[in-house]
Amino acid sequence: MMKYSNGKGKIISNREVAPDHYKMEVEAPTTFGEALPGQFVMVKVSDGVVPILRRPFGIFQTNKDRGSFEILYRKVGEGTRLLADIAPGVNLDILGPLGTGFDLDLSGDNPILIAGGVGIAPLYMLAKELVSAGKQVKVLFGSRGKNDLLVVDELKTLGIELLIATEDGSEGFKGYGTGLLEELLERGEEISSVYACGPEPMLEKVDKIAISHNLICQLSLEAIMACGFGVCLGCVVKTCTKDKDREFDYNRVCCEGPVFNAGEVIWDEA
């Protein structure tokens, strides 16, 4: 607990790696060396008050040798647009590493990592560490089309098995990553655990699959965050409770999450 720090980190590089997707490397304050896969940072994207809030990004990887860490992000709005425009050399306000990480001890020998789009960001770091731990890692990467695939080369050099699903069928399996997961399950492949990160509908689907197949499974969620370190109570998600007096709990994605176990989250129709 409370290993995070609030400080400046100099941008080492910030470049487009796929259409509208950027990878940024930042000199890391000391605490970043011990960051876990699945943890995230809060970044101040402007000096001024618009946008006023920091933006959360998963840690793509840490480079202990260089004392830096990387994020992989998609340009979706004002904040990420500003971030994409910041030149190397600039000092960024960074707060982190925050949140719970993935639990590597749950992985077993044949973990499957399933990513939707930029959800690959925290899973890349997870894959790397699982490989170092000697696991047989499979990554299922779902994206809209082959032009939207991310960090494929990096993934391949990790020595994992990469399976691709594209919605338009322009590469690999035609359909969602979750479809691929279901196929593997039907084929009866060995799966000791599932780790997922991506858009909410995908996570909900993975959750259902995991529950129905009794799989060990962790999901990394997103939420709009004002603080990122547990004080605003803005980022909550409905979760199952152990308390008999209540129907549910509101847990903070930034503290109790962003990683939750399958079956924990109550998905609301919204």
Partner: protein
């Protein structure tokens, strides 16, 4: 010579006028990784109710130009857990603790005040009256001078702790509100709470907050907050704690000149968790530059 930042509010001696605002500083401990919270004038903890409250459904926060809307729905651990689990830790740090509290009926407010009054380690109470009164069709306590007056009176009867009443800005006359709670015996005012606002996702044609409306905070509301502090300061004699969009020492000083004896930092704590400390230092620097020996010398010093 080191400038003197100490101020006194409702009999409370504070080492400096910088506090953190309720709902933006958790129970204080969350800020320990960033700085020694004992350096603050005081902290106002997240609003406490009789029973724990789950709060509103998400989404609960959304950004707006130079501000944010929140509809947390006053989620909190309840007074028991606060007293047993949070307060002792804060006391161990030597922090001056102001307990922000609220209810949905007069009785809830009274019970809470009684309970808190009997508890060691609390410096003052801050009564949040920006809550719906369920017995009065959900009309907010803090929007009717008479209701606020009567409530304040009841609370004063059951507590010997200094009572700070936290005013809602969603009123026609803040001066009248201020006066009515002063007349009821309030020891100090804190203001402003958030301004009710709304933000719409135009493609989904849905409010961006599950609760439809939320409270606007941040720099966007600062001019309104400064004006209200100034108006209230003209209407009452009790001290005022200024709140609303403070992001810097300059902002804090604006409130003090307008008539605030102390200030609270809210939204800014989210963006820069060590801002409160920086603001204390900034005020000191300003005082040195302007040759102000005692911060209390410039309270309400706005020339007319």
């Amino acid at each position: 010579m080191k400038p003197d930042l100490s101020v006194e509010i409702a009999g409370l001696k504070l080492k400096n006028p910088v506090m953190t605002a309720s709902g933006t500083f958790g129970y204080g401990l969350e800020y320990e990784p960033f700085f020694d919270i004992g350096q603050l004038g005081a902290i106002a903890v997240k609003g406490i109710s009789l029973k724990p409250r789950p709060g509103n459904a998400p989404p609960r926060v959304i950004e707006t130009p130079a501000g944010m809307l929140n509809a947390i729905g006053l989620q909190n651990v309840g007074v028991e857990a606060f007293i047993n689990e949070k307060l002792p830790l804060l006391n161990k740090k030597g922090v001056t603790v102001i307990v922000n509290f609220f209810g949905n009926t007069d009785e809830e407010y009274v019970q809470l005040a009684e309970k808190l009054n009997g508890t060691e380690g609390i410096a003052a109470l801050e009564m949040n009256i920006s809550c719906p009164n369920v017995k009065e069709g959900g009309i907010v306590f803090g929007t009717d001078p008479k209701v606020a007056h009567d409530l304040t009176k009841k609370i004063k009867k059951v507590t010997t702790l200094p009572l700070i009443v936290k005013l809602s800005p969603n009123v026609t006359s803040i001066g009248e509100m201020a006066k009515s709670v002063e007349d009821a015996g309030a020891d100090a005012l804190s203001m402003i709470n958030t301004i009710t606002g709304m933000s719409i996702d135009i493609r989904k044609r849905k409010s961006k907050l599950a609760n439809m409306t939320g409270g606007l905070s941040g720099p966007a509301i600062k001019p309104v907050a400064v004006r209200m502090v100034w108006e209230a300061a003209k209407a009452v004699k009790i001290p005022i704690i200024g709140i609303g969009g403070i992001m810097s020492a300059e902002d804090a000083i604006e409130f003090i000149i307008a008539g605030a004896s102390a200030i609270q930092i809210g939204t800014a704590n989210f963006i820069n968790p060590s801002i409160a400390l920086e603001i204390i230092k900034g005020i000191e620097t300003f005082m040195l530059e302007e040759k102000i020996e005692k911060i209390s010398h410039i309270i309400g010093s706005l020339s007319q």
